[in-house]
Amino acid sequence: MECVVQGIIETQHVEALEILLQGLCGVQKERLRIHELCLKSGPNLGAVPSELRILCDLEQPEPSWTVRHVGGSMRGAGAEQISVLVRPMVESKASKNVLRFFYVLGYKLDHELLRVGFAFHFQRGVQITVTVSSVNKMLKLHATDEALPVTPGMQLVEVTAPATSENYTEVVAAVTSFCEHLAPLLHLSKPGISTGVVPTAAAAAASLMSDGGGTTL
């Protein structure tokens, strides 16, 4: 399973966010360019309708492929009290013909996206990944070179951390605590609950840009 929160930031403040993340994480950013294909089961296939994502990492010298399945999020009073979404997630690397394979099995392409941006992978008690990316749609099938942003001027920030049913409370705490450091620039919440941009973003960004992230926000 994984713990996840999301937020949005104006593209003009992304550079400031990068400086802040660089200071907080202490690792180099990695460039991100991922072609994401969302597949859904055909009309008669499966006990229930199902959905999976096929990700192609275009940053690698040889594009690498991953199959990802995300399950329904944790529910109940306990889940509502925490500000982080906890959900089952399984990933598997796969060879490059995996898309054709799922088509033959009866899955259909629902939509596709291109995420372009950067990511930080670091250890903060638990393994955390922060991705900052613009989400692009393709006007023609698989035409990643002609992709256009879905929300121009706005980028998606996602903080994720792998967890297990034994340690998720610890992971949730680590993610929550990390997100507090980003609060002046953006607010992170459970996916699907958009809280918009934060009013302090411009001032916080200006401060970060002026001293290269040296100031504690």
Binding site: S41, L45, V98
Partner: protein
């Protein structure tokens, strides 16, 4: 005498000689041929044949090294409306191979597809609830070292019974990863092996049906995906011979 692939004498020297680990490069995967037992018309496979085959490997100085096991699962689609049966693949196989314990292989023979993935993909398949296991088969037996060759002889049984469905044999040639470069030496080895086995007058023989790997997008350089494709081919042959036997009986 310099080593060459050209004569029977050379191959005899190779597989009866000392194993030379220096020839086996860690990053290169040795190639293998997967053979299956083809019973003579009117006969079926039985455990006595398996025992004799194993004895025959030891008879040509094969050194028993340990056990091996591979598992193979046939998947079938879960359809909400059985009457509405679209064209779903009937030859969808998932396989785990002892040579790659962290990987899982899918084959769709009719579409010439082989996919390599992590073992966690089985978890994804379970969660999708779109396909389920129809039958699981186990290939298991002993591994033998014979000079530069590694042989694995095993029975094919359903996962929850001891009902023998077939016999397979893997012939692995450790120094080479190229299918073409090894073809002659493999053919010569199989000739010698068939000759040794023929002395036992068993009711059948081993056959090797080589798939057209390029149709699956695989190159001459051997990988575990080639092994998965060979097992899918062996299964198709086993099913075809079982159907032939039942047709004769009926």
């Amino acid at each position: 005498m310099p080593f060459s692939y050209g004569s029977r004498q050379s191959i005899s020297r190779s597989f009866l000689g000392e194993f030379r680990p220096s020839l086996f490069l860690a990053e290169a995967m040795p190639l293998k041929w997967v053979l299956q037992w083809q019973p003579n018309p009117g006969t079926t496979v039985n455990s006595q044949i398996l025992a004799e085959v194993s004895q025959c490997v030891e008879g040509i100085n094969g050194v028993k090294e340990g056990r091996w096991k591979a598992t193979l699962t046939y998947y079938k689609p879960i359809l909400r409306d059985q009457a509405m049966s679209p064209e779903m693949p009937r030859d969808f196989i998932g396989m785990s191979l002892p040579e790659q314990p962290n990987k899982y292989y899918f084959t769709l023979r009719s579409h010439r597809i082989v996919v390599e993935s992590d073992v966690s993909v089985q978890n994804i398949m379970e969660k999708l609830q779109s396909y389920k296991s129809r039958v699981a088969l186990i290939f298991e037996g002993f591994q033998y070292q014979l000079g530069d060759f590694q042989l694995r002889v095993g029975k094919v049984v359903p996962s929850h019974s001891e009902n023998l469905r077939g016999i397979v044999m893997e012939v692995e040639y450790l120094p080479i990863s190229s299918l073409e470069k090894s073809r002659q030496i493999m053919e010569e080895f199989i000739d010698i092996w068939q000759e040794a086995l023929s002395k036992r007058s068993l009711p059948g023989h081993f056959i090797h049906v080589e798939p057209n790997f390029s149709e699956y997008g695989l190159s001459d350089h051997y990988t575990s995906q080639h092994t998965a494709v060979q097992y899918a081919t062996v299964m198709a042959q086993l099913i075809a011979s079982a159907q032939a036997v039942s047709t004769v009986r009926n």
